[in-house]
Symmetry: C3
């Protein structure tokens, strides 16, 4: 099992940076089929928790460190699997994008505000919850409220420049809940 | 196992509203690793079916009740897992958004129609299937054709105000197929 | 197990076209719960690999055949499951859309270029990587970098007209990595 996983990880192991994963290497097929050799047993595992993210100002925010702080210990128990993040709200969104230059997050917020009319110019019928509410709902469906990320050797297997963003679309910051579900072997 | 799940569900159990889930509670890690103690055995389960949604007019429609009517019985057998919905079409979409005020659905349809040009003003080459067809394809990729939702204590674990929407982007209503896949313990 | 799966597939089996799947048939619930009857054992399997897609020009490209060439053999070992594709980049995207008329892909690229300002007219602060970079990041979050597709009888269970698209949002073609994770029974 260990060897198969290392092969899958391109000889990397949990410690090596994920971008060094061997490319195009056909993975072994893992199975939980009862097997006389205990070293080849893989036990499917599930973990699920609800995380609360602190209130953030309207805009796009890099939350990878916050997420890893909450699930890093559970992640380390998975050699291969999937991590699912589900935001419990309809006026914010989750997306994966650039993790380095904060200007990318500011420009993305600029784009969203330019493309979704707000205030007097807006054609919305749903205005009771404030001028920023209907635009927030639209932005939430544009980017979506859920992410699924592969797990490899106990880590989220993302690209070098990828990060997890929480996009807050309301003017009044509020805490946001994310249900994280981990599944793998 | 029961206790672990209840802990994960914040003492809620299937009956309590999901928004009352304990927040930030580290979940137990479930495993199917053969175990002498049967109370700690968790059996991974898969269920899959194809649902047909009746024809609906162009616009956004709340379909949570229709989906739950089809999969509620299967859902009840999962303590922890994921539900995947996959729309078999390229001129409609699935999204999660506000489940209360139907104006939010109408305003979202207004936004989509304002942002994707249709008819004489549109630059499309693909027009053989009607003026509403190419805009429908674009809207389908904007919102997407698939959803993954966590399952907790036999229920879809969505936020208080979240609902599942089918967005019909064609003028002529047609029945739409959704492949639902449930996986969990 | 075979019978359950055939029932799930509407009597189809791997050979029959997926669009002929029986509709609304309640699926059997599969389990890996140890069982005296080996024919009813289902063994959860995981497979994961990193695929490199060759450089492609800016625009939308149908990559279903490339993906199936890489994972078809692994797919054939799954009766029921999910296939997850995760693009390792923030300036390209994955989406599911029309697999027949290439005009649909050209028109989608036209839409993206019309909706996301580029060059002198653009309000972006992030310009160091070229005028096409910030628009590429925005398009990546609009369509997303990941797909989850059901697996039925050893095949991707997509609609008749659905295909997997890689949308390249940069001017300079570069190879793109996709982490594919298969999970099922």
């Amino acid at each position: 099992m260990q060897n198969s996983v290392v092969a899958l990880g391109g000889g990397g192991g949990g410690a090596k940076p994920l971008q060094s994963l061997a490319v195009g290497v056909r993975s072994s097929l893992y199975t939980t089929n009862p097997n006389p050799n205990p070293n080849r047993m893989a036990a499917p595992k599930w973990a699920q928790k609800t995380i609360t993210l602190p209130p953030q100002r309207r805009g796009c925010h890099l939350i990878t460190p916050k997420i890893l702080k909450e699930i890093g210990q559970d992640l380390s128990e998975f050699k291969c699997g999937l991590a699912h993040l589900f935001l419990h709200h309809t006026s914010a969104s989750l997306t994966i994008n650039e993790n380095y230059d904060s200007d990318v997050r500011d420009d993305t917020e600029t784009f969203l505000n330019n493309i979704v009319p707000e205030g007097r110019s807006a054609p919305w019928k749903h205005t009771l919850e404030g001028p920023d509410d209907m635009p927030a709902h639209i932005k939430s469906s544009m980017f979506g409220c859920a992410l699924t990320i592969p797990i490899t050797n106990g880590q989220l297997n993302m690209g070098t420049w990828q990060g997890i963003w929480l996009c807050e679309h309301r003017d009044s910051p509020t805490a946001r809940k994310v249900v994280v579900t981990l599944n793998g072997i």
